[in-house]
Symmetry: C2
Subunit: 299 residues, 2 copies
């Protein structure tokens, strides 16, 4: 596809943004006016052929949508509202035009679904696997972003939804927990999204907050998924990743409903002092360290 034709296609797919987006695709930068009293939040993520999805038969439309979902999940984890999305792709010449268009359509449809303006990006060739990169810009009321660093010893530890399902159904559409994140503003003391697996992500949260944690294995909400050969196990719920649920903490005095914005909320443990490390109480009552066995970005 010629560059002009492709840009015209993208402009059509991207549609018009909100009036606060003064300039979009076609200029050197997008220009956007944030609301008064808001802080800007920014996240970036990548989708690499052969790393994040298998090269063969990858469903283009779903991949485009999943890239948006991954970015928006980070916005949800901050308690924010998504506003603008930017897409960079490096695509090999062998990638069929149909696949490219489907990827762009999936990306466009998912940004529209979550009222996020597709405001720009870049397209390049590459003599190897396809690489796609997203940037999402959102905003929150100033001072109210949910950080990873706010947990304190004694805070209770919660997760949304059920974990480990991606191990058996990895190519699902992602539902970013935006409504939940919004509700947690001013209530949660810390929050992050579960992308690398609970065991690894909990270590990240504890490190940023300077606390330890103790998790009860019997409380972890394991997804009720099975295929012909396997059912979802505790191990998968702890270590598989790609859950895109929220992990958050709240003071013991904060009332946390069993369901928020339609999503089940489960208390799985509590924060401790840092020196105690990150531990898990097994089904037989024994307590040991919870090793981070989730996704390692550079292995």
């Amino acid at each position: 596809m010629q560059e002009r034709a492709l840009i015209a296609t993208i402009r059509r797919l991207a549609g018009h943004g909100p009036s606060a987006l003064r300039v979009s695709i076609g200029d050197d930068c997008a220009v956007w006016r944030p609301g008064a009293g808001r802080e800007i939040i920014v996240t970036t993520d990548q989708l690499v052929e052969g790393v994040h999805y298998p090269a063969a038969k990858a469903p283009a439309r779903l991949l485009g949508a999943r890239l948006v979902g991954r970015g928006l999940s980070d916005i949800a984890a901050m308690g924010g509202e998504p506003r603008l999305a930017f897409l960079n792709v490096a695509w090999p010449a062998s990638l069929p035009e149909r696949w490219r268009l489907d990827f762009l359509r999936g990306f466009a449809a998912e940004t529209r679904r979550w009222k996020t303006a597709w405001a720009g990006g870049d397209i390049s060739g590459v003599s190897g696997p396809a690489v796609a990169s997203i940037t999402v810009i959102g905003d929150v009321p100033a001072g109210q972003a949910l950080l990873r660093s706010g947990a304190r010893p004694g805070d209770l530890l919660y997760v949304s939804g059920r974990l480990g399902g991606a191990a058996l159904r990895s190519m699902r559409r992602i539902t970013p927990r935006l409504a939940l994140g919004r509700t947690l503003r001013g209530k949660a003391t810390s929050c992050m999204d579960l992308s690398d697996g609970l065991s690894t992500d909990l270590h990240h949260l504890c490190e940023e907050s300077g606390v330890g944690a103790i998790v009860e294995s019997s409380r972890i909400p394991v997804a009720r998924v099975s295929s012909r050969r396997a059912v979802c196990s505790l191990d998968r719920a702890l270590n598989w990743g790609e859950d895109y649920e929220l992990l958050f903490t709240a003071k013991p005095t904060t009332r946390v409903p069993a369901r928020i914005a339609g999503v089940v909320i489960t208390c799985i443990g509590r924060c401790t002092r840092r020196v105690s490390g990150v531990r898990i109480v097994e089904a037989d009552g024994r307590c040991g360290p919870l090793e981070p066995r989730g996704w390692q970005h550079l292995d």
Copy 2:
């Protein structure tokens, strides 16, 4: 390098941002408070091994710096101030650790040079050429961004610096024209940066503004560069690209100095009505269409 070690390295290289950057590397999103009365401007760009630079012997530190320079050049073209930079990389396992560190060092040094906070990003593996992607967020006083779409018939056409030098010295460090862009706020009627080559970029500007243009070849400031085998030619100045100078328009009544912020400014022609197209007056006085023969992003 292990993920933890790499993130620690990046945090050290990135250093501390300004106080308006409340949260940086380590959380789900960066959190930044823009100043009152400012609009946000956002640009993204890519650097692909084998497309934007040769795979062999590519100088890592310079490449990291050039990726920053390319992003900041777009900020300059809007008359903006750069604030935050985000880096996504997909790197093959074969890339030496030394090369990776040098790339990150080059990226970090260049963001510091231009007082831009390195506020986040993502690192992934890939089984093919390296792909790096940058997002730069800046701001401008509300309503004062320099757009591509503001040129009107009769406006004069200017470029900064000298063009075509990249054809003979392609791996230079980029000096984004930030001070020039700032000075042009409220003076230029339109502006963009020259990355694809004057012949192609002028078509982009004319298309966005709905005008035509006529350029005098004798006025184009050709770079004074020569190698043993070639000198910089008018053809290279028109079509090679990678100049990272500014192309802008101003009303004939606007006084435009011959030098702004230390950079030579040259009037190369004027805008016409759209129906006249984009034309060039050759040295012999003949006038014909100026074909866009610069960089095509998808060829």
